[in-house]
């Protein structure tokens, strides 16, 4: 066990190489109990890859990954389910954990889809399915929640409600959450720690610090940081086109 009992998963200088090319490298982060840590970054910056390294889905990683819990709930970004399987929402809810009917009902109610419990999974809309995915992940009362774009396809009002729910869950279950999100407002309002990725860790810290970071602005544009005060610090490296750090001559 870790000295610090609150740590659920810790990545140290972790990365993964595919065909001699780094998908992501040098990522160090820690998910702690009761905290929400968010990964942000442009497409292809290695957010989902980092999450999968932390979860142990990718095994040929470099660096060290330490996991201190096995009670994990995961909402993947992309999920390909073979719809030829006869699978109702109720069957999907007990996929990795045995739950009572009441527990299933409770979790589905939290995300507002308890009326779908007997529906075939293949007949759900994108937003409904996303709510079921989230309900399934929280229903097992995990220590660690890994949410990869958990509200994609959910309507605007639903999105806000679900983000509030995620925040509430982290307090209620005292679990750690590793969140990947494009919604910067959400990131700024509910997150404890932000890691900005672009093939490597560009910057990290509290949301306010990150928003002030010049790299963050370079990645997301001025618009994104306008909501927060502008603070400049010295940018100590430059990027090549694929997001790697440009070597100084």
């Amino acid at each position: 066990m870790s000295l610090d009992k609150n740590t659920l998963v810790r990545l140290k200088d972790a990365g993964i190489k595919q065909d001699e090319k780094w998908l992501v490298q040098g990522v160090s982060l820690e998910v702690n109990r009761g905290k929400i840590i968010t990964l942000i970054g442009p497409n292809g910056s290695g957010k989902s890859t980092t999450a999968k390294i932390a979860l142990g889905i990718y095994k040929n990683y470099e660096g060290t990954v330490e996991k201190f819990t096995n009670k994990i709930g995961y909402v993947p970004q992309k999920i390909s389910i073979d719809w030829t399987l006869p699978l109702r929402v109720a069957d999907f809810m007990v996929l990795t954990e045995n739950l009572s009917a009441d527990e299933i009902e409770e979790a589905l109610s939290l995300t507002g889809v308890n009326h779908l419990v007997n529906k075939n999974l293949g007949n759900l809309s994108g937003g409904e399915f996303q709510r079921v995915l989230l309900a399934r992940a929280i229903s097992k009362k995990p220590d660690l929640l890994v949410l990869d774009e958990p509200v994609q396809g959910v309507d605007f009002t639903g999105e806000i409600a679900l983000y509030e729910l995620i925040k509430k869950i982290s307090e209620k279950l005292n679990c750690g959450i590793l969140l990947i999100s494009h919604d910067l407002h959400m990131v700024m309002s509910a997150t404890d720690h932000v890691v900005c990725l672009n093939g490597h860790v560009c910057c990290s810290g509290s949301p306010i610090d990150v928003a002030k970071d010049k790299e963050y602005k370079a990645l997301f544009g001025d618009q994104a940081s306008q909501t927060l005060s502008i603070y400049e610090h010295k940018h100590d490296h430059e990027h090549t086109d694929d997001g790697k750090i440009k070597q100084k001559n």
Partner: protein, 267 residues
């Protein structure tokens, strides 16, 4: 009323239906029908080895099929050939080697047709014991790995991320496939055993909206096929394996009407 051999065939068939029902569902869900075929084809080689070494046939078939499965996994890692080409390569080469080897064993009188298509008359009391004891073991093991196996069938990454160890479940399932082929080869024959795995499961899919229901209907479909097949085999003097598979197909066709009805209801 019935001869002993027929009662034995019936008891053996019931045992086979109970095993192929649940396993067949996974074969359909995981798209493993050609994989099943390949393992079944390798059974001939297993039988030849057993005969020449005077070794237990079922055990020899099980070991041969397991080795072929391992070999397939290695080939998949080392070549760029698509999976179906590798499966075909292994299936037909093991069938070929098996037949060649039988040619060399000219001192043994051996019913190749019975092996290919199944033979009621060949089922002995000893076979019954093997089918039923082996069957119970297979079903207990499947029960044990059900959760990780089913979860990874739905989505591998979810199962892996949430700590269910799907790779171990998959390896065990492969051994179960080899075992079910070893147990049922005498009844159904190696060319038709995959049909016994797939057709009752396909019949069940048409009638089910949950995975558990599909497993139950798949067993029922298998049992009905065995009864219908064996009785007509007795009446019309047809080979047992093909008769059982034909019966299964008839059930499947009937189940299609049920689907049409549900689709109509939905619209």
């Amino acid at each position: 009323m019935f001869d002993d051999f027929f009662i034995r065939a019936l008891v053996a068939g019931i045992g086979v239906a109970f095993i192929t029902g649940p396993l067949g569902c996974f074969v359909v869900w995981r798209r493993l029908s050609y994989f099943g075929d390949t393992l079944a084809h390798s059974a001939l080689l297993g039988v030849t080895i057993a005969l020449s070494l005077e070794f237990n046939i079922a055990l020899s078939v099980f070991i041969t099929a397991s080795v072929i499965a391992l070999f397939l996994i290695q080939l998949q890692k080392k070549t760029n050939l698509p999976g179906d080409a590798l499966l075909g390569l292994l299936a037909h080469s093991s069938l070929g080697i098996g037949l060649v080897a039988i040619g060399f064993l000219s001192f043994i009188r051996f019913d190749v047709m019975g092996l290919l298509f199944g033979d009621i008359l060949a089922v002995t009391t000893n076979d019954l014991l093997i089918i039923w004891i082996g069957g119970v073991l297979i079903l207990l093991t499947l029960r044990f790995i059900w959760k990780p196996l089913f979860a990874s069938t739905v989505n591998y990454e979810l199962a892996e991320a949430e700590g269910l160890k799907p790779d171990i479940a998959k390896a065990i399932f492969t051994l179960l496939m080899a075992a079910v082929i070893a147990l049922s080869i005498k009844m159904i024959g190696l060319l038709l055993i995959t049909g016994m795995l797939i057709i009752p499961a396909a019949f069940a899919r048409n009638l089910s909206d949950t995975p558990k229901k599909m497993v139950i209907f798949s067993i029922i479909g298998g049992l009905l096929s065995v009864f219908l097949g064996l009785f007509s085999s007795l009446k019309f003097n047809t080979p047992s394996g093909p008769s059982i598979i034909t019966a299964a197909l008839i059930l499947f066709v009937i189940s299609l009407f049920k689907i049409k009805q549900t689709i109509k209801l939905k619209n």
